[in-house]
Symmetry: C2
Subunit: 608 residues, 2 copies
Amino acid sequence: MFRTHTCGELRMTDINKEITLAGWVQTVRKFGSITFVDLRDRYGITQLLFSEKLNALLDANPLGREFVLQVTGTVNERSNKNPQIPTGDIEILVHTFTILNKSATPPFTIQDDTDGGDDIRMKYRFLDLRRSAVRKNLELRYAVGRSARNYLHENNFMDIETPFLIKSTPEGARDFVVPSRMNEGQFYALPQSPQTFKQLLMVSGYDRYYQIVKCFRDEDLRADRQPEFTQIDCEMAFVEQEDILNMFEGLAKRIFKDVKNIDYTEKVERMSWENAMWTYGNDKPDTRFDMKLCNLKKPGSVFTDKSDHAALISGVDFKVFDEAETVLAIAVPGCSEYSRKQTDELTEWVKRPQIGMKGLVFIKCNADGTYKSSVDKFYPEEKLKAIAATANATAGDLILILAGAEERTRKAISDLRMYMADKLGLRKPGEFKLLWVLDFPLFEYAEEDNRWVARHHPFTSPKPDHIPVMIDNDPQISNAAEYLSHPYSGIKANAYDMVLNGNEIGGGSIRIHQRDLQEKMFAALGMDEAEQQHKFGFLLGAFEYGAPPHGGIAFGFDRFCAILGGSESIRDFIAFPKNNSGRDVMIDAPSAIDDKQLVELNIRLAGS
Amino acid sequence: MFRTHTCGELRMTDINKEITLAGWVQTVRKFGSITFVDLRDRYGITQLLFSEKLNALLDANPLGREFVLQVTGTVNERSNKNPQIPTGDIEILVHTFTILNKSATPPFTIQDDTDGGDDIRMKYRFLDLRRSAVRKNLELRYAVGRSARNYLHENNFMDIETPFLIKSTPEGARDFVVPSRMNEGQFYALPQSPQTFKQLLMVSGYDRYYQIVKCFRDEDLRADRQPEFTQIDCEMAFVEQEDILNMFEGLAKRIFKDVKNIDYTEKVERMSWENAMWTYGNDKPDTRFDMKLCNLKKPGSVFTDKSDHAALISGVDFKVFDEAETVLAIAVPGCSEYSRKQTDELTEWVKRPQIGMKGLVFIKCNADGTYKSSVDKFYPEEKLKAIAATANATAGDLILILAGAEERTRKAISDLRMYMADKLGLRKPGEFKLLWVLDFPLFEYAEEDNRWVARHHPFTSPKPDHIPVMIDNDPQISNAAEYLSHPYSGIKANAYDMVLNGNEIGGGSIRIHQRDLQEKMFAALGMDEAEQQHKFGFLLGAFEYGAPPHGGIAFGFDRFCAILGGSESIRDFIAFPKNNSGRDVMIDAPSAIDDKQLVELNIRLAGS
């Protein structure tokens, strides 16, 4: 061993011990005839003191930043203690030292606040990983994984590995494929998730399965997507939705305790998908703060049953509202005194292409009980007052109203709500709020193909009392314009998402375990019998041999870690991430391969 | 929850409890007006008693093998107890039952001794996995993984995920590659191991890394190889070989304790590669039994320094020995009375093409002190006696002698040693013997290219005192016939294999951490500077920024589990294995993919 202790370990109780440390040179500071060196490793930083006696040797062997250094010396009490670090009370009086390896000058500083930009840090990721900010992220990631494994183990779950070289069955996302050398013209696919395999394990009687496992999706990458990502993947047999919610609420709470020392004891709130959409315009609302939506004119194609407040805003010939499919409002607390400049800025914000609204209407609920709005010429004060009351606004609030096409307006008000909350500091970094969103629609309507697509995935079961609706009706949509009146559009799924601070961190469902229902599902998605058999024959076959009721969930491990670590970017929590073009710029992959490899694999490049 | 208890849980202490079970129907036995059903789940089997009252209902809803059944009833004491199973004292008097799912008749019986052949069981792997023999294997696998994780965690190792979509750098085995849609004409490769990434992590300061991780090799599959396999992959910084041996000897012992409850307290034996080859003809000897080799005429190209006993066998004009490169013997204990038929069978065995010897010479060391051999006309009794003494044979032993070309004969005697040990029951199933094999040659000579190849891999360090030999000499082999006299042929590696009962279960090395040495290694393997830079530029670059001394090991997780489970086949310990053509016959992969996918990936099939 090159060391007796780590650089984070020595304390006052070690005074006078003869020890050996090894690590990286963080800083070298010369004071007259003596030299101080901060030596760093994964565990901390220890101050080294090179006395005058070592000067000649140091001159002959100068130390530089990031040199790998081994020193032997005595633990001394520091005269000038540093209360900022755990080893701050001591220093090492160096007797001998060995430079184990030199270092070129790093292209950026190895510090929390580095001077390196994103590109250079990714190219030299092996240096970036030395920064304690990044190291803490990976340590947190390890702690989350460890905590999850312990909890699942204690609850009788078994880690079972599923294969990576499987069959391409593209549903939704694109598969990465792998040409088979031994089976000419054939390809494996990398799993988008172990979904069908974990279901087979349930059929096989392994009633509690988990895996922390890499998954692959060949999608066009958005800012915070990775082509390979990690799931905490779980499945249980002989359970109902309630059992799964309780089990995995427990998992999340255990992780909070183990990793953040947070006692998350309250029951996790549950909300139907419909209520989430109605109240927050979003199926993954951040519930750390209120600012709920007021549906002045409801999105009619989603909420056929709910009643809105259209009467409040109609009849004054304000065309913007009258012609809009939807009018939605939020009451922003304490912002009634926003200046013209501030409201103009908000208007500009909602007009950005990412939001895409034509404008913003506001009502100031003044502290003195009066109302002032940007639409005063249409709405007299008592109308404004009525709207404010409906929007649950109180004196001092600023009501923001958006109007336009259903989907866009709903998304815009939801984004605006988050934007205002960020502005007002309502999304508190240390606060964590979980939420179950339930009762998702089983299907979505795909306009281009005039057919149904599975909202979650094709293995999700309808709610038990909706099974007959599915079995007894023809999935065919005869009149595209009236898809909303098709019985399938009302079918709700036994599906659930776990939301943390406005981010979906997990999702799952009770699965179909009956062959006839699974076939009906595939048919509803436009798969004929031959295609069903080709793609999922093994699963349909398995359902014939005693498939138990089962369900599961998968957590986005990268994202869960990022949110726990207080970041919105999953890349900071992955040791070797890829950039937005799916490239690893450090190793320079992907890259061209040898012609010999192509020949062996029986493929050619398209251009060749 | 569909149950209050599992099928392995109920005992006499639960008598009179009202409980609910769910599971699979193992057997249905009708005795007059009552029916017994064995209900099975992952945890065990519980006997159900359907009384006369339920007859009509059972007739209307007949139960079959593998039906999924839920029952509610009372725990009763059995009149006819079954001491074979933990629940054998009780049975459930069924009040109500629900068939949760039916089952077709399985194509083979779900029993330890199934009537299903290999092919049918692989096609219906989801049913095969229900057999308790297979379930126990996967449970053992989970226990091994859990034990390894706990040990490594307690020793400050961190699980850090490395990427699966990396760069193709074929060295030795072929890569599986993945066409990149977003980077036209370029490919990712799936990792053969996380080798370079774990070394980068050492450079990054994560001084103790582990991962239980899938690796991929596109090799022609031998009986017990899988294209995807799992490693327990570990790396440590600031260590010497001794530290690694101790740490991972500890890991193996911990697994023995946790998984098999074996206190493996003795120090693991260590043996140089040369001694293993000299003593066992094999670098992964089974040391549970002796039967060591007698090198009558040594394999001269391996053991240039050792002295053999050629004088004992020469000078009698026995051409078979005189013309052989190598003559090797083993003394098989207690077999001197083998009949002519038995020795003939052994001769046939060594003449099989897999062994490839021309014949077998034997000497019977009779109990009465006399000697009898198959070469009596060449060797008088006192010569036989002298050979027997050299071979450490005692009265009652049968000496078996093989002669021929070096490599083949060495392999043959080693195989024969194992064959005889199996015959004599010397390879005891419950006995486990670990062995470290050390000091491997760094290089092997590749005749076809007249150059060196890395015996372990190109990142393995020579022994410290062999580093100058490597640096100071030109790797070029000027005279192919005399490669043995090239200085490189004598360089030993800081590499080690862990052997268990004659199987290599782990291997590793101290790594090169100096750029100049790594470049010399690549050059020795025939890589010019441009190729080095293209393939491993990131690693060479990393070595310039303060790379610490480091080393590691990787265990073959599948094989380790198989041996612990008493099997030679890794397939039995993988939930969803592939067959010898790399096919998953259950899901029918690999398979053809859509033309649309090919177009998107910018590739074509070779024949198209």
